[in-house]
């Protein structure tokens, strides 16, 4: 199959619906060429000349789950960087994680859809700088096994550090040729797990968290999928626990049980239920 031959709108319609149903990723008609390219390559590798045959394979075959895991590597956008939207990370550390530690608790933090892990490792560095890294449980999940593998490696291209880093954070990474290498203590402090955010069973199996970071992920979902994901995340927050989403992602139009709050310019959503 030539990956450059555009799929028909009919095939696009069923394939994009299936991908949204299984993975939450939403493609509109304007992205038909991009999706054709990504699916075409994977379908050819799986031995299919026709994207319609490939759709039936994903829909009906017993091996579809495995194939979806491979397909997701072609579809997900792993674009992230260290200390992205740092204000929220500072607020999470100072106002929630740090205070819980000060109360003698052992707070749990989950970076949901962590991609290659820059967010949770940034948080880890901030915690290490305050000397409390070993008193916090850090969990990071993503649907992409390849992204998690890269995260666990702790080695990142230079462009992953495009924002200024906070004072003292450079103690926790080093430069190696054109890569940066994160201190093993930080990487090893994180439990990386493969998880589909839209799999309610998998999410429900996680413990409850004091802080959940799910930033710049919901923008790839349609409203109906965002609502599903947010409800799922809300169910994993301890009472009083907080959810941070990206600064361009507002949950105000969704009917959730979470209350929006603001601290020093950083917005988050709290599980206000007792």
């Amino acid at each position: 199959m030539n990956g450059n031959t555009r799929m028909s709108p009919q095939v696009f319609s069923i394939l994009s619906s299936l991908i949204e149903e299984k993975l939450g990723l939403y493609y509109d008609l304007s992205q038909i060429d991009a999706l054709t390219e990504r699916l075409g390559g994977r379908a050819a590798e799986a031995g299919f000349d026709s994207l319609l045959d490939y759709y039936y394979y994903l829909r009906y075959d017993a091996a579809a789950e495995k194939e979806l895991e491979l397909l997701v590597e072609r579809l997900v956008v792993g674009e992230t960087y260290f200390f992205r939207e740092r204000l929220q990370l500072d607020v999470a550390v100072q106002d929630f994680i740090g205070q819980a530690v000060a109360r003698g608790e052992r707070p749990r933090v989950w970076s949901a859809a962590c991609a290659t892990g820059e967010e949770i490792l940034s948080l880890g560095m901030l915690l290490a700088a305050r000397g409390i890294l070993d008193r916090v449980d850090l969990v990071a999940s993503d649907i992409s096994a390849a992204a998690l593998k890269r995260a666990k490696l702790g080695k990142f291209p230079k462009r992953s550090l495009r924002d200024a880093w906070p004072a003292g954070a450079d103690r926790f990474f080093s430069w190696e040729s054109d890569h940066i290498v994160v201190d093993r203590r930080i990487v090893d402090a994180v439990q990386f797990v493969r998880l589909n955010l839209l799999d309610p069973g998998a999410v429900a199996a996680l413990p409850r968290f004091d802080v959940i970071l799910c930033r710049n992920v919901l923008i790839y979902f349609r409203d109906s999928t965002v609502a599903r994901a947010v409800n799922s995340l809300a169910g994993r927050l301890k009472p009083g626990g907080v959810l941070f989403v990206g600064i361009s992602e507002s949950l105000l139009r969704f009917e959730t049980t979470l209350a929006c709050e603001e601290r020093g310019g950083a917005f988050f959503y709290r599980n206000a239920e007792p």
Binding site: N4, S13, S17, Y56, D61, L252, T256
Partner: protein, 786 residues
């Protein structure tokens, strides 16, 4: 710096209390209790108020008078007032007289609200009243009326807006400029050009001139390119670039601002001036400057454009397009970029390479570190069509990135040549399974008989994927032994081998032994063998297999059930048709969709009601299939069904409906498209493109519609005729220009000028001097002055 402030809390979504109030509003709506709903406009929650607004708007006339009364008498709550304005703007009533009365009230805030409502309602019969309000002593009322006129549009509104430019009141002139730019009326160009001379209006007027898409604005904007301020030069470039885009959208064709710039005069320094203004320009400005440099054909801009190739995508693409357009010197620069440039520079330039003298430089891109560049280079080489490059492409068949391997395969296939075949034969024996696989694909594409031994050997390859490609390739080998080999493989103990061979048998020429093997495949234990057997028998139109295929409609595997439906779609038997009709009502979405497609292929009149019903299906994918399947039916019911589907919430369904209307011959489909074009809510660009397809009956129907068209519709229809660029469409424009409909004649004048035919210009010249309509004379004079 962080400040410790007390957290401000708000509920996401509806709180329990808000939910209760929203439910109360719903009950009031059910009880048609208008007063109760109006009382709820005081609700402190905007989410609740929004629901109340929707309910009241749906009430129509009974809510209008009480709400007008509210606006007159209860102005102590801003939120309530805003909600009342929202209701009246969206109300389903068709009678605007209560709002007109409101607009004559003695209080200016009330009048301003009324003007806003009338603008949002977009009823053209409100124009005279709004023109009166535009002259109000109160700036708020006047500006609101101006904005309302801009929303409503049309000739009368534009006349009023033109008049407003003389007011010399900044607060009124400023919004008027913006609205005139959007009006598309050629009479707006001259007054807007005059405003360029007045510093307080220069920027807004330049932007508005860009939005007109009128070539008459080019000379004035071009003069700004010589301005001493870089910001003005950038502004002029952006306006010219926008004008170019709008003009091409409206009239099609390749010649946008280019020839207008060449006649603008005093352009000697403009290129250098634009290059200087690149420093400090943002991405949009840089892209616009590149577009104008391209239109100017500025040779000296080549180094500057080259530097933009490493910029953001939109800038790099504009720069590459400009380099491609500029000519010989730019060609040399593009070749330099291909040889020595960065990956992103190469990626920007490659799509524009079309000449054989660039081949040596493109070959160097095949070793770029970025897979996307390697893939693009291969595609470009395939497009240029130089067969000698195949030897450079073959090593990339084993590229680690599958996109590259696919692009290289396609390029080699399109280049052909004996050398390619020989290299593919060699590569089919390579140590690399990836290479062997790709080589077999290429040989299968070339076909012929010489490669049989290679394929036969590869069917025993140790790599399963090479084996599969070899089996599939046998279908394209012109040798009787290939069929024997496939029949043998169809009985292989390995189910994957059987599936691939059955799929391949479906691609062979019809053969009795193959058909028997495929029927046997319908009973295979493996679902994919049954799937491909169905597919193959359908493709070969084996009507004798109809019954065993129909039995698979109850198969345990979903893909087999769907494949059975697809196969039956190709068989012209009553059993097949009956099964399809039944499957079209299946609760299984994929089965139902496949059946609907099949009913379209069967083209039997009994299917039509089922397909029409499917247009109301809850799944967009099913509606889409139904829209496409209806194309097989010439029946009159199809056009209204497609017209309805053109309003579908799903864009793919809408596009398909419009595309089908575009291809349908006769006056009904064209009339439906014209109806869509007349609606302010349709996707105008899409419908314009659809109407521009010159099928039988299209031009005549457009011409008939033009004779009745108003000032809003006429320019759209003349733009369609101009975009067709066909003699019969130009004739229609000339006929429209002779019509008794003034709106039609004025629009036709502008379109005729854009087409630029000898007869059209002569007609415009004659009208400029002798026509009885003074406005048309003015328009024609303006068009001739260009």
């Amino acid at each position: 710096m962080r400040t410790d402030t007390a957290p401000s809390i708000s509920r996401a979504g509806l709180s329990a209390e808000e939910g209760r109030r929203a439910a109360r509003a719903a009950r009031l709506h059910d009880a048609r209790d208008v007063e109760g709903l109006i009382a709820m406009l005081d609700d402190p929650s905007w989410k609740v108020r929004r629901r109340v607004v929707e309910f009241l708007a749906a009430e129509g006339a009974p809510a209008v008078e009480p709400l007008c009364d509210l606006l007159r008498t209860r102005r102590d709550n801003e939120a309530r007032l805003a909600a009342a304005v929202d209701v009246l703007s969206a109300s389903v009533t068709s009678d605007d007289t209560p709002i007109w009365r409101l607009a004559k009230y003695r209080s200016t805030p009330v009048v301003a609200d009324a003007a806003q409502i009338l603008g949002r309602r977009r009823q053209s019969d409100s124009v005279p009243l709004l023109v009166l309000l535009m002259a109000s002593k109160d700036d708020n009322v006047a500006v609101t009326a101006i904005e309302a006129l801009g929303r409503i549009g049309g000739r009368a509104a534009v006349d009023a807006l033109l008049e407003c430019l003389h007011s010399d009141n900044f607060f009124r002139v400023f919004p008027t400029i913006e609205l005139l730019g959007r009006s598309g009326d050629p009479r707006a160009v001259r007054p807007l050009t005059d405003l360029l001379e007045r510093p307080q209006y220069t920027r807004e007027a330049a932007r508005a001139l860009g939005r007109t898409g009128d070539l008459g604005a080019v000379p004035a904007l071009a003069r700004l390119l010589n301005d001493s301020h870089d910001s003005t030069v950038r502004l002029a470039a952006q306006s010219l670039a926008e004008l170019d885009v709008r003009y091409r959208e409206r009239y099609g064709g390749a010649d946008g601002i280019e020839s207008a710039l060449s006649h603008a005069g005093s352009m000697e320094e403009a290129g250098a001036r634009l290059c200087r203004a690149l420093a400090g320009a943002d991405a949009k400005e840089q892209a616009a400057i590149a577009a104008v440099l391209s239109a100017l054909g500025e040779q000296d801009a080549v180094p500057h454009l080259s530097r933009l190739l490493d910029g953001p995508t939109e800038v790099a693409a504009a720069a590459a397009a400009a380099l491609e357009h500029i000519g010989k010197r730019a060609e040399e620069e593009m070749r330099r970029v291909l040889r020595d440039g960065t990956s992103s520079e190469r990626e920007a330039v490659l799509p524009f390479c079309a000449k054989r003298n660039a081949v040596p430089a493109i070959l160097q891109c095949l070793s770029d570190e970025e897979p996307s560049v390697r893939a693009l280079a291969a595609e470009t080489l395939g497009r240029i069509g130089e067969p000698a490059v195949v030897r450079h492409l073959f090593p990339l068949l084993a590229d680690a990135d599958i996109r590259v391997a696919q692009s290289v395969t396609s390029a080699i296939q399109s280049l052909g040549s004996d050398e390619a075949r020989a290299l593919a034969m060699d590569s089919a024996r390579s140590d690399s399974p990836v290479m062997r696989r790709a080589a077999l694909r290429i040989l299968a594409y070339f076909g012929g008989s010489s490669a049989f031994d290679v394929f036969a050997a590869a069917t025993g390859d140790s790599d399963a994927r090479v084996r599969d490609v070899a089996i599939q390739g046998l279908a394209f080998v012109d040798d009787p032994r290939a069929l024997e080999k496939l029949l043998q493989a169809s009985r292989d103990p390995n189910e994957k081998v059987r599936a691939v061979s059955v799929r391949a048998l479906g691609q062979c020429a019809p053969d009795a032994r193959a058909a028997r093997a495929l029927v046997d495949g319908l009973r295979d234990s493996d679902a994919w063998v049954r799937y491909y057997a169905c597919q193959a028998l359908g493709r070969l139109r084996e009507e004798g297999a109809c019954s065993p295929i129909a039995e698979l409609l109850a198969d345990s595997a979903g893909q087999v059930r769907v494949a059975a439906v697809e196969a039956l779609s190709h068989l012209r038997t009553d059993i097949a048709f009956g099964a399809l009709r039944e499957a079209a009502q299946s609760s299984e979405q994929d089965v139902q969709r496949a059946a609907l497609i099949g009913l379209g292929l069967a083209k039997r009149a009994e299917s039509l009601p089922l397909l029409l019903d499917a247009l109301d299906h809850g799944e967009a994918a099913t509606r889409l299939v139904a829209v496409s399947a209806l194309a097989a039916f010439p029946d009159r019911e199809v056009i209204p069904a497609w017209t309805r589907a053109a309003w579908d919430p799903d864009p793919a369904v809408r596009n398909a409906a419009v595309a089908n209307l575009a291809k349908r011959e006769g006056s009904e489909a064209t009339g439906a498209l014209v109806g869509l074009l007349a609606s302010s809510k349709s996707d105008t660009a899409n419908v314009l493109s659809a109407l521009s397809i010159p099928v039988n009956g299209r031009v005549a129907t457009i011409l008939a519609s033009l004779r009745q068209a108003d000032e809003e519709l006429s320019p759209k229809l003349t733009s369609v005729l101009a975009r067709m660029r066909r003699p019969e469409a130009s004739d229609a424009l000339l006929q429209a220009f002779q019509s008794s409909n003034a709106a039609c004649r004025r629009a036709a004048a502008t379109a005729l000028a854009a087409v630029g035919s000898h007869d059209g210009i002569r007609a415009i010249r004659q009208a400029a001097f002798h026509d009885a309509d003074p406005q048309l004379k003015q328009i024609c004079s303006l068009l001739l002055a260009r």
